[in-house]
C-alpha cells in the first residue's frame, strides 16, 4: 500500500470529505483539557499531546445498555453502527484499543456491541515527536511510531501530513480521497522526527524482565508500601486507556427497564467482595498489586507477552496521591 500526503492547509477539506461517510473526531480543547470531539470546522492540534481521558470510550463507553426488558422478557439493545474516524489518536491509546480485542472479541466470546464499534472505527494515529516526561511507551512495548493499533499512521512534515495506511480499513479511507502518493524516502523523512523521539526515549527497563519481576515480588511488602496512601479512588483505572473492567446492573420501574454495564475498577473494595462478606483482596495493597500485575503479568501471560500497560502516563499524572506505576515496576525490579 502506498503512502499519501496532503498539505496541512488541506487537512480540513480532506476530513470534511470523509465526513460524508464517517463521523470524524479529533482532539479539541475542553474544560478539563484535551478531549476527542466531533470535528466541526478546523482541526487545531497545536500543543496537543494526549487527551485528558483516553480513547477507550470509542469502543467501551462509560456505560452502555445491553438489554431492554419488559417483565421477564428482554431484547438486546440496538448496536451503534456509526462509522467513525478518529484523527489524532496517539500510538499508546490506539494500542490499548486493539488490546481490548482479546477481552471483548476473543475465540470463545465476542461482544457484539464492542465488535461493531471496533470494526466501524478507523484510527488515524499521529506519531509523537515530543513525548511528555511522564510518557514511557517505549518501556511497555510501544513507542512514538508504534503502528500496532493504527489503521493509518500520520506523520507531520513541514508543510504536509504524510499518511501511511496500515490496515485495509485505513487504505479504504485514503485510496480514493484524491491524495498525492509519496515515495518511500519522503515517508521516511516525515517519520524522522518521531523516529528520533523514539530513539531518545530510553526504555526504563527490559519489558520481559519487568513482566517476570512483578510476579516474583507477589508476596513482597512493596505493594503495601506503595499502596498505603492509595485512596481507592479509581482515577487510575478510569483514565487508563487499557483498563476495561466493568460491572452490570439492572434498573427499571414496574418491570420495565434496562440492563446496562458501566466502568468498574479493581481499586474499589466491592469489586471482588463476595456475598458472604469474604473479600479475596481485603486492602488497597492487593488491589494495587492486581492492577500492576494485570497490566504487566497476567494479561501478557494470556496474550503472547503483550503488555497491557501502554505507558501513556495518565495514571501517573492524575493519581491524587502520586502513586506512580513506573516507580512500582522499578521497585519490583529492585
Amino acid at each position: 500500500m502506498p503512502a499519501y500526503k496532503i498539505g496541512k492547509g488541506k487537512l480540513d477539506e480532506f476530513l470534511a470529505g470523509i465526513k460524508k461517510h464517517y463521523a470524524v473526531y479529533a482532539p479539541a480543547r475542553g474544560p478539563e483539557g484535551w478531549r476527542f470531539a466531533p470535528v466541526e470546522g478546523q482541526v487545531e492540534l497545536d500543543g496537543y499531546l494526549l487527551t485528558r481521558l483516553s480513547a477507550k470510550e470509542f469502543v467501551t463507553p462509560i456505560y452502555e445498555t445491553l438489554i431492554r426488558f419488559d417483565g421477564r422478557t428482554g431484547e438486546p439493545a440496538r448496536t451503534e453502527n456509526e462509522k467513525r474516524l478518529i484523527f489524532g489518536i496517539r500510538p499508546c491509546d490506539a494500542r490499548a484499543v486493539r488490546l481490548f480485542d482479546s477481552v471483548f472479541a476473543n475465540e470463545s466470546y465476542v461482544d457484539p456491541a464492542y465488535k461493531a464499534r471496533r470494526s466501524n472505527t478507523v484510527s488515524v494515529v499521529t506519531a509523537c515527536t515530543e513525548p511528555a516526561p511522564t510518557c514511557f511507551c517505549t518501556s511497555t512495548g510501544g513507542g512514538p511510531v508504534d503502528e500496532f493499533g493504527a489503521d493509518v499512521m500520520a506523520y507531520e512534515a513541514e508543510s504536509d501530513w504524510v499518511l501511511k495506511p496500515v490496515t485495509d480499513k485505513g487504505e479504504e479511507v485514503l485510496k480514493d480521497a484524491g491524495l498525492t502518493e509519496v515515495a518511500d524516502d519522503e515517508l521516511k523523512k516525515a517519520a524522522a522526527p518521531a523516529e528520533k523521539a523514539t530513539a531518545e526515549m530510553k526504555p526504563l527497563w527490559d519489558i520481559t524482565e519487568a513482566q517476570v519481576a512483578v510476579k516474583d515480588r507477589f508476596g513482597d511488602g512493596l505493594w503495601k508500601e506503595l499502596a498505603d496512601r492509595c485512596l481507592g479512588c479509581g482515577v487510575c483505572t478510569f483514565v487508563c486507556p487499557s483498563c476495561s473492567c466493568f460491572d452490570v446492573s439492572d434498573e427499571g420501574k414496574r418491570g420495565r427497564g434496562r440492563r446496562y454495564r458501566f466502568w468498574d475498577g479493581c481499586m474499589f473494595p466491592i469489586f471482588t467482595l463476595h456475598a458472604s462478606g469474604h473479600n479475596p483482596r481485603e486492602s488497597q495493597a492487593p488491589r494495587y498489586r492486581q492492577r500492576v500485575l494485570h497490566k504487566f503479568n497476567y494479561f501478557p501471560e494470556r496474550n503472547d507477552a503483550l503488555n497491557l500497560c501502554v505507558g501513556c502516563g495518565r495514571c501517573v499524572v492524575d493519581c491524587p496521591v502520586n502513586i506512580d506505576i513506573r516507580e512500582a515496576v522499578a521497585l519490583a525490579l529492585g
Binding site: 474544560p31 499531546l49 485528558r52 485512596l231 479512588c233 478510569f238 446496562y260 466502568w263 499524572v317 502520586n322
Partner: protein, 329 residues
C-alpha cells in the same frame, strides 16, 4: 528555622519519645506539582518529609483510616496504643475536629503538628494554563511558580493564579486543634468565604440548573471526589449499595447528579472546604461550589461552621426545639 525543618524536628521528636507509633506527612513526589502522603515509623525517616504548596489530597483521612483499622486488628491492645502523629494544615485539623465529634477517635489518639497555611496550588488550575503533559518541571519561590514546558519555553504563574479555590477563600489560616503550631501567623484574606455560593444563588433557577447539568455532563463516575474527601468515610457509600440501589451507575447526567447531590447532603454542616474533591477530579469539575452553598445555609440557619470546635454540637445531628423549620426534611 524554616517550616519544613520544624516539621521534621517535631515529627522526629514525637516518634523518638515513644509517644507516637506512626506519623503522617508529605514527601516529595515523582512528578512536578505533587507532594504525596508518607507514613513515617521511625524518627530517622522524618528526613523524608517535605513541605510544599502542592495538594496531594489531605492527610486527615489517613488518621481516621489508620485508627479504624488498628482497632479492628485482633492483636490490638487499647491500653498499649500509642498516638498517631499527623502534619496538619488548618483544613486537616478541621477534619480531625469533625472526626472527634463523630467519635471516630479521641483527642488522645492523635498528636497534631499544625502548620499555619497560605494555601496550596490546584493542579487543575495550572493545567488550564499549561497542560498536564506539557510540564517538564516546576520551581516554587517567592509566591510564584516557574514552569518549564515540554516545548522548552518557560512560564511564570503567581500563586494567586493557581491557588486552589478553597484556599483563596479560606479564612482559617491556623489549625483550630493542634499540639504544636508551626509557621508564622498568616493573615486571612479579606474575603467572603461564601462568595461563590452567593454568586450561585444570584443566578436564576434555570441558570443554576443548566450550570449544574453542564458540569455533571463531564463526570465519569470515578468516585475520586468521594475517596479524597476526609468526611466521606462511610463503610458502604449509598452510591455503592445495590440492595436496593439508590442511584443508577451510568454517567447519564441524572445519575451523576444523583451521586453528587447525595454526597452534598451528607456533607452539609460537615464539609471543611479543604478542596480535596476538586483537586482529585480528573475532569476538573468545580465540586466545591455547591458544598459552599449548603455550608452557607448551615451558617445562616445555625450560625455553625464545621470543624472549628470539638465541644460545639453539630447542628444537623443535634435536635434543638428552636431549630428553624427549614432544617427539617
Amino acid at each position: 528555622m524554616d517550616i519544613n525543618e520544624s516539621i521534621k524536628k517535631e515529627i522526629a521528636k514525637v516518634l523518638a519519645s515513644g509517644d507516637a507509633e506512626k506519623a503522617i506527612g508529605y514527601e516529595a513526589g515523582t512528578i512536578p506539582l505533587a507532594s504525596r502522603p508518607v507514613f513515617i515509623r521511625g524518627p530517622e525517616d522524618a528526613e523524608r518529609l517535605v513541605w510544599e504548596p502542592y495538594r496531594s489530597g489531605g492527610l486527615a483521612r489517613y488518621v481516621q483510616q489508620y485508627i479504624r483499622d488498628r482497632r479492628r486488628d485482633r492483636d490490638f491492645d487499647a491500653a498499649e496504643a500509642k498516638k498517631v502523629a499527623v502534619v496538619a494544615r488548618p483544613c486537616d485539623a478541621r477534619a480531625i475536629v469533625n472526626y472527634i465529634k463523630e467519635k471516630q477517635f479521641t483527642r488522645d489518639d492523635i498528636y497534631v503538628v499544625g502548620v499555619n497555611c497560605e494555601g496550596v496550588i490546584d493542579r487543575n488550575k495550572v493545567y488550564e494554563r499549561v497542560g498536564p503533559y506539557d510540564i517538564k518541571g516546576v520551581e516554587f519561590a517567592d509566591a510564584s511558580l516557574l514552569i518549564s514546558q515540554r516545548s522548552g519555553d518557560e512560564v511564570k504563574l503567581t500563586l494567586e493564579d493557581v491557588l486552589a479555590s478553597a484556599c483563596a477563600r479560606c479564612v482559617h489560616r491556623t489549625p483550630p486543634l493542634a499540639d504544636i503550631v508551626i509557621g508564622g501567623e498568616v493573615t486571612a484574606p479579606d474575603v467572603d468565604p461564601y462568595a461563590v455560593a452567593a454568586e450561585h444563588e444570584a443566578k436564576l433557577v434555570d441558570e443554576r440548573w443548566s450550570w449544574f447539568a453542564e458540569e455533571m455532563e463531564r463526570c465519569i463516575r470515578c468516585r475520586a471526589c468521594r475517596q479524597a474527601c476526609p468526611m466521606c468515610y462511610c463503610e458502604t457509600c449509598f452510591a455503592d449499595q445495590t440492595n436496593p440501589p439508590w442511584i443508577g451507575q451510568t454517567a447519564l447526567t441524572v445519575d451523576s447528579m444523583g451521586f453528587h447531590v447525595g454526597r452534598l447532603f451528607h456533607m452539609a454542616g460537615r464539609c471543611v472546604d479543604c478542596g480535596a474533591c476538586e483537586a482529585a477530579c480528573p475532569v476538573d469539575i468545580p465540586l466545591t461550589v455547591l458544598n459552599r452553598k449548603l455550608d452557607k445555609l448551615v451558617c445562616e440557619l445555625y450560625g455553625y461552621e464545621a470543624g472549628l470546635d470539638v465541644e460545639e454540637k453539630a447542628p444537623l445531628s443535634t435536635y434543638n426545639p428552636d431549630d428553624p423549620d427549614e432544617g427539617f426534611m
